[in-house]
């Protein structure tokens, strides 16, 4: 019988939406040097109840999967989508517009399903008020399935990560082909940097680089009896004690 020893290392990470925004921001800074960015949770700042307390509410739901499933299923319907958009438009559009305008952005990018439809309207109105077109884009950060509220089709372009999401955008949001771009999910620029430093992973230099990283992270060297398995969890995956 083989003896085995398992060491688990967990990474504390921020949420997908935020990480996506940070990754995209880095690309803007590389492609358009000198670019600056802000992150805005306009629903939390200027939304009405219950949407303005979404973060703690979401954390509660994440810990109670049955409740989460119920809320997701109910909200992921055309009827609720219509109600939500109308409700938010009447109650919050003006405040959203004022808030967004306060940042004086050149471009607005939504990476959250609840901040698509009404902000599109706000951006259009800001454009009318200022005489300067304010383009808005959506980057859908879900890969296999996605909530219907992502697919507000008034954006300039909608970036999606997979064929499944592209189909969903066409079906649920009636997003026209010319607005849809399948390009994958935003990932940190650090991956590209590490990949460049690694080079050919099977070359002596590549292997030496891997050993250096393993040492730096306190991982057992893969050339010994230990193997390192990288387990990645996203979406609604939770890690429990």
């Amino acid at each position: 019988m083989l003896a085995s020893h398992l060491s688990l290392y967990f990474l504390h990470n921020e949420t997908t939406n935020r990480a996506s925004a940070e990754s995209l921001a880095r690309q803007f800074q590389l492609l358009y040097p000198g670019s600056t960015y802000d992150l805005l949770d306009v629903v939390e700042k200027d939304g009405v109840a219950p949407y303005n307390s979404l973060v703690p509410f979401y954390q509660h739901l994440s810990a109670h999967p049955a409740q989460w499933k119920l809320v997701y299923s109910v909200s992921n319907t055309r009827a609720y989508e219509y109600f939500f958009d109308a409700h938010l438009k009447v109650m919050c559009e003006r405040a959203f517009r004022r808030r967004i305008k306060g940042y004086d952005p050149d471009v607005v990018i939504s990476v959250h399903p609840l901040m698509c439809n009404v902000p599109i309207l706000s951006c259009k109105k800001i454009g009318n008020e200022t005489g300067k077109h304010l383009p808005m884009f959506t980057v859908v950060t879900d890969l296999g399935s996605a909530h219907a509220m992502w697919f507000a089709n008034g954006v300039e372009k909608m970036f999606v990560g997979s064929d499944q999401i592209m189909e969903l955008a066409k079906k649920r949001g009636k997003v026209p082909d010319e607005k849809l771009i399948k390009i994958g999910l935003p990932i940190r620029h650090d991956f590209a940097e590490q990949s460049e430093r690694l080079g050919d992973r099977m070359s002596p230099e590549g292997k030496a680089y891997q050993r250096g990283i393993q040492k730096e992270l306190g991982l057992p060297l893969t050339e010994g009896d230990f193997k390192t398995i990288l387990v990645m969890g996203g979406g609604e995956v939770r890690l429990y004690r």
Partner: protein, 60 residues
């Protein structure tokens, strides 16, 4: 960038199969509707985001 063989059967192949130059050119081509920067210092980008969604909030 050249990533590992892990890219072979993953949906992330879309991202990982592009090198940095390809990806940059693609993004530039697809974002023609971006306005000219308001200053020579680049664009002011506003992300609408929230700390909901996935991500690990617990460390063991």
């Amino acid at each position: 960038m050249t990533l590992s063989p892990l890219e072979n059967n993953s949906e992330t192949v879309v991202v990982s199969s592009m090198n940095d130059t390809d990806a940059s050119n693609f993004i530039k081509a697809e974002t023609d509707s971006l306005p000219e920067p308001t200053s020579k210092r680049g664009l002011k980008v506003l992300f609408l985001s929230s700390d909901t969604g996935g991500g690990h909030r617990y460390v063991v």
